[in-house]
């Protein structure tokens, strides 16, 4: 028995057909539910706004009243019946009347249930819309992962860290320009911090090597972690895991080789001044030189590095130190040129430009976890280049070559190397990540306080205010994002391209 109770037994179709899965059981919804054949159920607005019912649903009496004038004209009624049987039962009393009206020969010829098939010749009109099967495969928000407050807060620390380091850089520049801070002391502190970071990095590498003998598996693990934890959930399914793994290996190998060749930085620098932005990308100066600005796979490369012998590690250290000296001296040589590079540009333009460049740096920075295929998608070089460009532009406002050299070196340390260290630290230890965030927030707040008010009091008030404001902003933004989730409306259905599931690649 098909689902239309008032329809006559259907003419059997020529070939056994597969009916729609939702109709298979001959489902009969309770009549009170389908008291009226209401087109509102089909309205596309239903998919979007559940509240907007543009068409009203009058009661049964209304139906009968509307039916009666029609019944006077038999021809019309019959043709209406022929074209479209009411898709539902309008109640028991109405049904009887209905039968009487439409139980003519024309009605008898009518076939049974409508089928969602194209190859069957159906006696329904082409614009017939079946109330049961229409849009029944529609899914709304099928893969939405609701955010929680505290994980969101924890994730936002990454952004806070970067913004804070930018703020610190700007404050240092202001201090240098106003003559309050000696540029040499700034760069000395920066270099000490960088050296400390490098030692720490090297030690991590050593311990990691001791406890992990199989680098390839670690890469696979890292890859896995990124796909589950990356904030952008669009992981390309076709790019299957083994492939990504191979890719990252190749990638890592290529880079470590490049940093092993001492000629590589030289060759790059020979392209001229603009190469300066590249050297920041390629931070061969002291600390994690072998990571080589490769924000994508420090881990994988590192594992490859680990798998090589202890001797090669020493050699690697040596080459890192060598290339760092190379950077140092070339920067020293370039400083006079950088100083006069944008001297002819008006200061207003310089401020505006550096502002925009730093904003660009903040917005295009790769905040991802940085491992696996997901990390390399974003052009991380854009953000680093923007930052180094900003500092190059700012350097022309400084009085002497020493100032310029210090600022440039400091910017390379802050924008080129520090992010890599931060990423690694987050990966190694969550607690120290939190502590680093706290320290950065306090220092940034203090630096702003000193810049605005001056003195120790300013620093204390600044760091206090900075911490509170940061916490408020983090909380507020997280809460805002969570509250925005209710507007999320993803509609998916059979028209979406299927995601192919491929077990293994052809290798």
């Amino acid at each position: 028995m098909p689902s239309l109770p008032d329809s006559p037994p259907p003419v059997p179709p020529p070939v056994p057909v597969e009916t729609h899965p939702n109709r298979a059981g001959g489902l009969k919804p309770p009549p009170e539910h389908r008291a009226l054949p209401d087109p509102t159920r089909l309205a596309p607005e239903d998919a979007y706004y559940s509240s907007s019912l543009l068409r009203g649903r009058p009661g049964n009496t209304n139906y009968e009243e509307q039916l009666r004038p029609l019944s006077a004209n038999t021809a019309t009624a019959v043709s209406v019946a022929a074209l479209r049987p009411p898709p539902a039962v309008p109640g028991a009393a109405a049904r009887k009347e209905n039968r009487k009206l439409r139980g003519t020969g024309v009605r008898r010829r009518r076939k049974g249930a409508w089928k969602k098939l194209l190859w069957v010749k159906q006696s329904y009109p082409d614009n017939y819309t079946d109330t049961e099967t229409f849009l029944d495969h529609l899914q709304r928000n099928p893969r939405v992962r609701p955010y929680d407050f505290w994980p969101l807060m924890a994730d936002s620390t990454v952004i806070v860290q970067h913004v804070c380091s930018v703020v610190i850089f700007v404050c240092c520049f202001v201090g240098i320009v106003q003559g309050r801070v000696s540029p040499v002391s700034v760069v000395c502190w920066g270099s000490v911090g960088t050296a400390f970071g490098w030692v720490l990095w090297d030690w991590w590498a050593f311990t990691e090597h001791a406890e992990d003998k199989r680098p390839v598996e670690r890469v696979a693990e890292g890859d896995d972690g990124s796909s589950s934890s990356s904030m952008t959930s669009s992981v390309n399914p076709s790019n299957s895991r083994p492939n990504g793994q191979r890719e990252s290996q190749v990638h890592g190998l290529g880079l470590s080789m490049a940093s092993n060749i001492p000629g590589a930085p030289l060759r790059r620098r020979s392209t001229g001044l603009s190469a300066d932005s590249f050297t920041a990308q390629d931070p061969a100066s002291p600390p994690p030189g072998y990571s080589n600005g490769n924000t994508g796979h420090p881990q994988s490369q590192w594992s490859i590095y680990q798998s090589s012998s202890f001797l090669s590690r020493n050699r690697h250290r040596l080459s890192t130190i060598k290339s760092s000296f190379l950077i140092y001296f070339s920067l020293l040589g370039l400083s006079p040129i950088l100083k006069s590079l944008t001297k002819s540009t008006a200061s207003d333009s310089i401020w505006a430009m550096s502002c925009w460049l730093l904003i660009m740096n903040i917005f295009s920075f790769d905040y991802g976890s940085g491992e696996g295929a997901g990390g390399t998608k974003f052009p991380a070089s854009l953000s680093t280049n923007a930052a180094v460009m900003a500092s190059t532009v700012l350097a022309s406002r400084l009085p002497s070559t020493t100032h310029v050299f210090s600022l440039m070196l400091f910017s390379i340390e802050v924008f080129g190397l520090f992010p890599i260290f931060r990423r690694q630290l987050r990966h190694i230890s969550w607690t120290s990540h939190i502590f680093l965030t706290l320290a950065l927030v306090m220092v940034a707040g203090g630096a702003v306080g000193i810049t605005l008010r001056g003195g120790l009091a300013g620093a204390v008030v600044g760091s206090f205010m900075g911490s509170i404001l940061t916490a408020l902003a983090m909380g507020g933004c997280s809460w805002w994002l969570i509250s925005l989730q209710k507007y999320k409306n993803v509609v998916s259905g059979p028209w979406d391209p299927a995601r192919p599931i491929i077990r293994r690649r052809w290798d």
Partner: protein, 498 residues
Amino acid sequence: MRRGVYAKRIVYSSMVSDFFFPQPGGVESHIYQLSTKLIDRGHKVIIITHAYKGRTGVRYLTNGLKVYHVPFLVIYRETTMPTVFSFFPIFRNIVIREQIQIVHGHQSLSSFCHEAILHARTMGLRTVFTDHSLFGFADAGSILTNKLLKFTLSDVDHVICVSHTCKENTVLRASLDPLMVSVIPNAVVAENFRPLHATPHANDRQSGGTSQLQHTPRPIGPNDIITIVVISRLFYNKGTDLLIASIPRILASHPNVRFIIAGSGPKAIDLEQMLERNVLQDKVEMLGAIRHEEVRDVMVRGHIYLHPSLTEAFGTVIVEAASCGLYVVCTRVGGIPEVLPQHMTTFAKPEEDDIVLATSKAISALRSNKVRTERFHDQVKVMYSWTDVARRTERVYQGISGDISPQEFYGYYPGEIQEAGSDRIRNFSLIDRLKRYYGCGVWAGKLFCLCVVIDFLLYIFLEMLFPRANIDIARSWPKKLNEASSTKTERDRLGSTS
């Protein structure tokens, strides 16, 4: 008993799309076949498209089908530059010259079609839109296309979709009343897709194969070679990745299986690499891109047609394959499950394992001779024909131009308020049109209204500058419409609608 209502009226309609011959493709042949069959039914149809290289001006095709190639700037993949208004003067001229009553646009990516529908509404003509493809809702490109579609379709008279899935998609994309959307599938010219062993007809195009035409197909033995044919452009959304992954596994488990792959695309390199890596060159034959006329000749060399597509609105090619007598293995995506009956197909999920499984099932079904593939051609011929498509399209034309009463055309909902029903008949007064456009969105609605008002002013301006009286009326193609055939079509239309 209702014969009086069906006074046969000739409809003057024009198909508008960016896509038409000489470019090959599904939409192009759809437009051509539909127009030809509508002309056969006594209507007058012209086609408006943009100028192709070597095709400019006005052309006549077979059966007096007139094609206007309008010179226009092509920007991307034969799609014209979307200038909202610049098409209007020449469009108006053509429409007046040919006395067009209905403008029928095809394919949502064609900017020509959208512009034509907008201008036609401004000029007070009825419009139909046919959607041939599926779009998602997620990515930026789709969102833009959907907004544009909403703009055009908020004032269209009727929409035709090629499958029920396509209808659902279009209704959602453009927020349409579902009763204003008809489902009329594509069709195939069954004579052009005849199996190898079919009995020859008088007008058979196959000249070389006359000697073997009389044979009945030999049943496939357990050790005979089974050939699997794949004809598709090698793109990601055609499922080439699935194909690449499953071919070695299918060939490994079935030694007496061969593949023939026709088509080209960016994934061809991956496919060739897979063949080289697994040393399968002697089992897989790659033909490269083939012309549409050659499709049948390739298809009849095989026994199974494999279609691993990831999205498909209708999938004409699987109907063509079935018509050639091939057993079809396809993925259950989009509108594909609606297209062919179960005994002609094996469905698979879009997964590598499932495709391998389904293909193996199909191979064993063929080997055990359970599938009567020699009957497929005649069955498909009954299911899909362009004559049927033209008849159903004609009903849409009659419905929107008022030859069929709206109650009959849209069905009758007893519980419906009057205005909801009356909204389906789109009247031409500017204020009502603006009301419809205004509902498209907070910003988009206002922008669309602006466009419509400018379009209207442009129309008035054109009427003053180039008055209608000065435009010559084109003479129709001389045609013998014999009375017998017209009464016959009359009769079968009556039979189908009542």
